[in-house]
Every structure is written in C-alpha cells, then in structure tokens.
Point group: C2
Chain length 223, copies 2
C-alpha cells in the first residue's frame, strides 16, 4: 500500500529507535562485522528498501539509482512524494552530503517540486560493530541546510570548487532551522550562485526557477 | 607472523578465488542482503583485516585509517612493506581510484618509498547479493596506472580539476603495463604536473622527489 513520508516516519520511529544492527560480510571461511562507519549510509538505504517490502509499503526508484530521489512513495503522484535517506554518526555533527551542489542547483530550477522532497535522517552510533539507531528526523531541505562561512549556503568547498550542500547542526540540536522557508533557502542558493558563478548566471537560474515553479504550482515564487 | 605481500597474494589466491560471499545488514526485524556494489570495496578491506587476524598474519594500520596505506605488513620495516587494497566489478573496466591525485603527488615526493607499495586488487562479480571473487592481482602503481586523453597520466577530471589517479585496463586484460618502470610512471606524473600546475611547480616537485629518493634509497632517480 502507499504511505506518506510522515506515516513512514511515525511507523519507523516506533520500531527502530534503539534497535541494534550489524553489517556482516562472510567470504570463504572468514566472517567480519563491519566496524567502520563508511558503509552505514548505503546499508541503511538498502535496509529501508527491504523494510518497505517486508511491510508491504509501496516504493519505486529512478532507473538510474545514482539519481535523485532515493525513493518515490506514490505511483500516481511520484513527484510530490519523494524521499531521500541520509545517515550520520550521532556522536558527531551531521556531516552528510545533502546533495551535490551543481546537480541540485540545476535540477531544482528544472524540477522545482524537488524542493518538497522529504529527507529521512538516521542518527546512529557505532560501537564495536553494533549500529544503534538513536534518533530519526523527517525534514525538508530548508530545515536542514545552513549558512556557510565562505558562501551564504553551507557547502563543502575544496580548492575553490563547491562540491556538496552540507547540513547545519540545528536540527540535531533541536534548534530552530537556519532558514525559515523554502524562499529563504532559495535566496541563499541565489546569493551563493551570484558569488560563485556571477550575477548574470544567478539571474538566469532564478528566472528559470521562477518560470518552472509557476508552471508547476500555478503560484508565484516570491524571492 | 609476518608475511610479504607476495606470500599473502599466493595464499589468498589459493583460498578465495571463486569463493562466494554476502554482505548482510540486520536491524530490528528486517534483514537485507546488499545487492549494490557501493559497499564491496570497504567491506573487502575489513574482510582482509579479519582474514589476517584469523590466519595469524601481522598487520598494522596508520592511526588515521583514512590515510595511506591500508596495511603495513612488517613491524621492523613498515615503509617497505605497505599494502593497498582495491576492488572492482570484474564485469566492467577497472574504475577504482588508485589514489587522490593531489595527495599522491605531494606524498610521493615526501615519501618516495610510497612508490613501492603493493596493490592487492580484487576483481569480483555481484549477482543478486552473491559476491564472487573472480581474480586477484598484486601490482605496483606503475603496473596499473595508465595514460589519459587530457593528461599524460590517466586521471579523473571534473570541471578542470584533477581528482583521482585511475587505472588502465591493461592489467585486467593481461596486456603489458602502460608504464615500463617507476621512472616511466613518474615521468607521466611530472608531465601532468607541468600541464596542470606549470613548469616551475613541476620542477620544484621533481627536485624534491629526487632529493628524498636519494636520501632514502642512496641511489639516483633517473628521470
């Protein structure tokens, strides 16, 4: 059956919080429990897919599984029911990649409904191979994004190249989100583009975003 | 006990070729077998560490496990007994990252013994969760590196930034390696640096490499 992201979130919270898991790899006579965190995120995404199957919850995925989103939760209205899965070590600050910067910026202008995707975030701890789910969140992108030192949007920057959009710690710490609305978040994307790619490029992007937003939602995006 | 990379390679070949493994993640009432290849490389590295333990083979690791190398195989002479572990889908061309370009280039000049590290490469297939080890190789970096279209060294380039050193397919295809010696490989690194960072920068790098090589090996590096 189809369930909304909110229904899934409620169901998951009641079943996985404080559950303990393990990633085990057996090959030949040697079996190892993974003790590093580098495979937890991908494993949780596969786990969630199996959990959907076990619980008879509808999901589908893009043909290219590297693409956004991780899951569609509705067959009749996939674009307005998109779920992204993220995970981070609960003993540290959230440092997952919300999205690749370039691909997010270009795709949100093409497909403004991407703004409404839900982010299901797992906060886990890892101790000697035991993975414990400590907390779950369900958030929109503007509720987890943040402001950066170098650019208005918090991003991962290396050798002057922006790689990824990175989260603020506010959601983990139970503080109000940095951005108050999708418009507020998009303003920071626009200002970042302006600094990074120049004003003309940023204005072209904003124009395209506004046009596609109007076509999709039949309301005007006020930025 | 301590074993050389060659001894380990021989032992592994006789035990893991055609062995089938699975990566399984259990959490709560849901258990999933991983069917994507994105966690295989990290899992094989953890598996090898456990295999060393099970077979009473000495290994140690850098304090920062993100750093080079994956394993030291000798306690008394760690620098000349370094092992890197790589893995790729045997049904495709090898596309693993040999190393981050910037960090390799700067560290090889500082620590020329890095040139002699052994690369243990797993060629696996993945079919519905079953991971089968099809082939193993033990190679030096100049035996797996290749020439690129854009630069003399085959690298991953995005938006004009060189990210990683990528392998040639020659080792998989049983062909002679692209570079005939470490000197031949270093020449390609030098020529790549020259195009990418300019001649002065490349010459400074080569000077440092030659000096440190002489200090370590007491012979002259002829490039």
């Amino acid at each position: 059956m189809e369930k909304t992201a909110q229904e899934i979130f409620t169901l998951l919270k009641s079943t996985v919080i404080n559950q303990v898991g393990r990633i085990v790899f057996s090959l030949g006579d040697t079996t190892v429990t993974m003790k590093t965190t580098d495979t937890v995120g991908n494993s949780l995404q596969s786990w969630l897919q199996q959990w959907f199957l076990d619980n008879d919850i509808y999901e589908s995925e893009p043909t290219n599984t590297q693409e956004f989103p991780d899951f569609y939760l509705s067959e009749s209205n996939p674009k307005d029911n998109m779920l992204e899965v993220k995970a981070f070590n609960y003993n540290a600050s959230p440092a997952f990649d919300i999205a690749n910067y370039e691909s997010y910026v270009s795709s949100v202008a093409e497909k403004p409904y991407r703004l409404n995707a839900d982010y299901l975030i797992f906060g886990y701890t890892m101790a000697d191979g035991d993975i414990t789910i400590k907390k779950l969140w369900l958030k929109k992108i503007w509720e987890i994004a943040g402001r950066g030192k170098r650019y208005p949007l918090n991003t991962q920057v290396k050798r002057n190249v922006i790689y990824n959009i990175r989260p603020s710690s506010s959601f983990k710490n139970g503080l109000p989100s940095v951005f108050s609305s999708k418009e507020d978040f998009l303003k920071a994307v626009y200002e970042t583009q302006k600094m990074y790619r120049g004003e003309n490029n940023a204005n072209d992007w904003l124009e395209k975003l506004k046009t596609n937003f109007r076509n999709y939602y039949h309301t005007t995006l006020e930025i």
